[in-house]
Symmetry: D2
Subunit: 450 residues, 4 copies
């Protein structure tokens, strides 16, 4: 077990994506490219060949599919693009590994991804190797003008790759959880991570604030344009809600009291029989959970995880609070970042815990903490376009814009997000009943009247 305790993800090079990937030399970009691509494979290293194949529900994709789809992304948008070499690795891969880009062509139906035993895992790795090779050749052989265009495509492709790195882990967790054998993805060493801290409120006065970004750095289109919003005074909690606090909610009849729930939430928990977070079960009066390291006892000090928006919302109502809006979250994060000199710290995939563990040391009691990593924090904001938003032209315009309905925004990244992938303005989004992601919450509230 010790042997596996320290994950050995390949380190990223100094130059991380999202910050300096543009303007690198061809060989510098190739190096970043290969480093990130290698990590996807490193995350799959603990898997058996059989693990790569299974799709345990329509939301989940087989690991093999993730590896191939991210490769198809580079093949399609870089190599098949105006500046690419135009060669086709396999005539059917476009059909099999297109996720949702209708502009590019028809695709294999998502719920049937688990029916595909072929191409084999080995063939998928060969596909990756070939595309990586051709990308490398393209970067080194292209002229400066084309390079300018290509580096932007590489950049989004690498961020896309990182998103799927997270999904590889959330999806294989679901796959393994469906198996009565309860196999672990890999052993981890959580150490003495049980430090607790009282939660407190940090207050922000009514103001007009700038949200989103208009800068040069990489962001997704949905974080733009930077725009002004007006907000009332509000308070936001210094830390995330813990598993122990959530157990109090459960034991107070939280799942049986309709007045705490949105109507859709009440119908969801009734219809699906939910009475605790996903992966939790109670045996002999004790709560257990399935983790990427196998079955484990719930640790009270950890942030609560694998809850839907409905559960986060009901918990907040029970606690006499509410979820923050995404603007409130971003405003708070701005202050937090200033205090931390812009360093993004937290429990990320590189930490190799694969679980939102409590910290080793107690958190500060008067300052915001756990803003990044650990769990994605549900906000009370539906996922809508920012004022002035316009989706890019072409197929990549399908990346974000078309999903702006029936989803809620989450912020801050999780314990399976790559650290270099996250930023203050980052908007993640899932339907309100989704809970196979590492999703939790932080409380907010209006400033009480005196």
């Amino acid at each position: 077990m010790d042997a596996q305790a320290s994950p050995t993800l390949p380190a990223l090079t100094e130059t991380e994506p999202g910050k300096t990937v543009l303007g690198l030399s061809p060989s510098g970009l190739t190096s970043v490219f290969k480093s990130i691509r290698r990590r996807s494979e490193a995350l799959c290293a603990p898997l058996s060949v059989e693990d790569y194949v299974v799709q345990s529900m329509p939301d989940v994709s087989p690991s093999k599919w993730h590896l191939a789809h991210t490769t198809w992304f580079f093949e399609t948008f870089v190599l098949q693009g105006a500046d690419g070499d135009g060669r086709v690795h396999h005539p059917m891969y476009g059909h099999l590994f297109n996720s949702y880009y209708n502009t590019v062509g028809k695709m294999h139906p998502r719920p049937l991804r688990g029916l595909l035993s072929r191409p084999s895992v080995r063939e998928v790795y060969a596909y990756r190797a070939e595309i990586d090779q051709r990308i490398g050749e393209l970067l080194l052989s292209t002229d400066a003008e084309a390079f300018k265009r290509i580096e932007r495509l590489i950049e989004i492709g690498l961020h896309h790759e990182q998103q799927h790195q997270e999904l590889i882990l959330t999806d294989i967790k679901h796959v393994l959880s469906c198996n009565p054998l309860r196999p672990a993805y890999r052993a981890t060493n959580r150490g003495n991570r049980n430090a607790t801290a009282k939660s407190a409120w940090v207050e922000f006065a009514e103001a007009i604030a700038w949200i989103g970004t208009s800068g040069e750095e990489f962001t997704y289109d949905n974080e733009r344009p930077r725009h002004k919003i007006f907000h009332n005074a509000f308070q936001i909690a210094t830390r995330e809600v813990t598993a122990g606090e959530y157990i109090e909610f459960i034991e107070d009849g939280g799942y049986r009291r309709p007045e705490l729930w949105l109507s859709d939430g009440w119908n969801t928990i009734g219809g699906l029989g939910w009475n605790a977070p996903m992966y939790w079960s109670k045996r002999n009066g004790c709560w257990f959970m399935f983790t990427l390291s196998g079955e484990a006892e719930v640790n009270n000090a950890d942030p609560v995880c694998h809850i839907s928006h409905y559960e986060a919302d009901a918990y907040a109502r029970w606690a006499g609070a509410r979820l923050p809006t995404e603007a409130e979250w971003e405003i708070a994060a701005h202050d937090h970042d200033v205090e931390n000199s812009g360093t993004i710290e937290g429990n990320f995939v590189e930490d190799g815990l694969f679980h939102p563990c409590a910290p080793l040391e107690p958190l500060p009691t008067n300052a915001l903490s756990q803003m990044y990593g650990g769990v994605w924090e549900w906000t009370g904001s539906p996922y809508t376009p920012y004022p002035g938003y316009a989706a890019p032209e072409g197929a990549l315009g399908e990346y974000n814009g078309k999903f702006m309905s029936n989803q809620m925004v989450l912020r801050g990244g999780s314990c399976v997000t790559p650290r270099s992938h996250i930023r203050r303005t980052y908007r993640n989004f899932f339907p309100p009943d989704a809970r196979w992601q590492f999703s939790g919450l932080r409380l907010a509230r209006d400033v009480p009247a005196n």
Copy 2:
């Protein structure tokens, strides 16, 4: 047919609800109460006994159920309340006619409302008569202090009644449309309502604006509190999109071009095979629609109707525009109201058209029109609580708050809304795939850069 052409809905008394229902004398309030209650029955006058029974889909309720449910509302919240007479008309009616108030008790499942042949239509009318009688007695016999409490319950009950008056019509339209005999609810005389006008843009500059209400007048809780928002400059169309314009969208392949659609919308139209608004069909190159007056040819100058949020959104994208936010709509409506001295004009249920007909005279080309009545206008705003919103205590807290997820806001009322029911701050809401309501759209857009 002529005989039926002019609907003879009972006129409301001078004092309309939402404005002056509070502060009336007991007999004055009784008079308003009876007037509004009578209208529900008047709207059912064209129905056969059999028509009252059918539930054509889970969203639809039988007419009989609407008549009984609104009565149960008064019985439960007024007569069973602290100041009521406490008598129970029938021990099972609470179970049968509770819609969704979990706080009050368990209820008959919504999708099974159409299985109830009993109580009979006659019994439901007797139930109404008894409750109306007892409400009248209560109003006239209670002391002043209790009257103050009761009049607030009567007020919300009457607005609730009006909402169901609209649903009686939208629901029976759906019921009748499912019948291959295509029966009409009643004949109407649309006259020469084909006037058209070019659509133009009205512009509003960037500003901080107040939205919602904090006044004394009646509103639902979801319109409160009044609060500030910041908005960019925007333009909004002078009138609603017409059926003729929508046909252009259809003929331009609107339903076959994925790039125009939200992802959920594209899946919805594909899964359900939609290729036109609800109730529309094409025969021999001509578009027909089912109306409350039976089958009719689509009239190009009418506002397009019975479209989902997805279709409204796709149309707007096709037209190079977008849906207004609900704040934008309300800001525009404010200016419109000022110009019109606060008078709410439009095609309402009292006009007896039961269809969003084009006007008799051309609309003004430089001023906002059709803001009220005709069709509910889809906005681009998800239905969320206003900053500082808190649901009321008790069962009536379930009225609005718990539905604030997965729904989109619509504004302005429709041709089957009672005129006295609507106001500028009124927020209607439906899931984005709903289209059996009289729902259409008005375009908006960002101010183009020069």
Copy 3:
């Protein structure tokens, strides 16, 4: 209640169908025709207008539909036939009231019959009156040769009408049972019907026997041709299994022991949560059932009723016996009929009990009883064509033949079957999970080895 206690179904004339309907004079046939048609309406007399409309599950049809469909049958096969008057009552009724005759044309989908508030009950009765009038005119005006052809169509139409008389009752029972008000179809007086008798075995030796019919009398095509079968020696029970005996099975864990069940049966009871006959519920240790006379305590001496084939089969296995084959049943019925001089006696719809009540006097202990009426008896025989069977030419060939898969044969008629409708060779059939019919069982077994 007394007033309703004796049902007043119109008596049939002396000449009953199935025996002498052929060869009657035109006025004699008209008289029988009108008598049977009137009875369908008499059975609907206790219904409210609303009751006629509801379809509580796809298997159930609204009463209104039954009345119209049987009328359509005469209109289509007699009046629209070669010898009919050819007039069409309403151009859409063929679409609305065709049940399953693909040869005749397309039809309204069965599960949507409950969406049709129109035609009204009044219009359906008018339809019946007109068709009856025209049939009467046709019978009296046609020439002798055509009369020969027409009387055969009238004959099958009357048997068809009688089948729907039974369905009117089984279907309205289901409709009313879905209503939490638990309304009764009509009060009945069961008197002191609690007589019991020990069940005994009647034995039949191995033999070749003739099954089915080839005679001149009316039968459905599925009872033909008469043919030989070989059977082993067997024993059959003198009477039907009682509710009290069935309760022993329940209390012995019958619904929880997989070894007693066919695999499909086990999956059915698990999936649907069955643990007692349909319409049964247990309160305070006592079994109650919903009947056409409302809620009542289960009477132990009554034949058990509203069980599926799966439950009948499991009960028989639990009892160390099996279901009889349909041939065994018919062989036993032959002996029974000989002893009873061919008189068909039992609890039929004319008795007005509408429930399989125990008899007033104890049954004979050494002779077969309860062979007719009471409950349809499930046999162990799948519904297949007799050797040499051929469906008739034309649309009426769809009457029986096409249903010969996935159904099991039941024999003997029930308490809601018209007495003149039943005969020894009559083959009823339902899928093995159906139980809204009045269906029960009688045991059989192989002759034990000595």
Copy 4:
């Protein structure tokens, strides 16, 4: 391709199961046991590791599951039985690999078999090796009395193994067919197998016949007891219906003519959109089919295959004939066997064609041929117990008896059945809509009247 053309299934030893497996010496039985067990693995040799995992529909099981389940069968019924060693290979395997033996304990739900990436293929093979080893040790170490009991369990286990050998092939065919890459299980060499022969009728006179078996040889319980039946005179076709003949049925509108179909069949083909056998598709006017050797043109002389009972029944009706009853088939097979000295010949799995190919030489025109192998022949007989049938005591009583509802009998074996597995009295059974097995038909008819 040539290299793969000749399948190299391990030959069975001289002593085949079903004939002489009882009475062998311990080492002789061990040898047969290992030989049959090895063949299951040999059939999986062409599979990739990924192929073993996928479940493409609930009826299909992953190859890995088949290999483990058959092993569990021996572990449970032999090693865990009274005479076994009682050791448990893995505490969860009983849960994972029990198919449907409720008596033995709860089991993993069938539709979720494809979610199990673990145990790995390697672990399943290790499981097989260990159980085989322990069975071998048991056979060689047990005393004579226990050996007598054990050999009977081994015998049924081996027949069970052979059934799953067939399912391994039918299931992997379905899995591979779902993959747009259309991978082949293995290349085969069909040679010049296009010989045709005119179909003729062989007539059998009315008689009493003995059906089933009461002998000492191995059979399943459902083939017993031997019993007498009476049958009319009938005719049966000399050979199976060919693909070419079936194409005539299609081209004559067979799938569009309701009068040809059982009602359930008509609903099935309508609901599922069937218009040809499974695996068939038409391109440029030519019929293609997916086979275990990949996509191929339909060969007119081959027996038609992968049709449901409904399609077989409709074809027969179109051809003016019917399906034989299972008794008729067995009577015909008896004569055929006498003429062939009891030798069972046909296209079996050992032939390595994996498809019901036409023969190399024309078939005899006056004698029955193709009775065994090629395709399972649908009969017109529902699967019911033979008179006097009793399921065995204990868990093995669940093997056959509980499936005797809603299924139809098929006879004769197919091109993926092991030759030593089939016999004249063998009763296979599937629901009437199943068609992923190699199922076809042979015609029968009543003797035409002169």
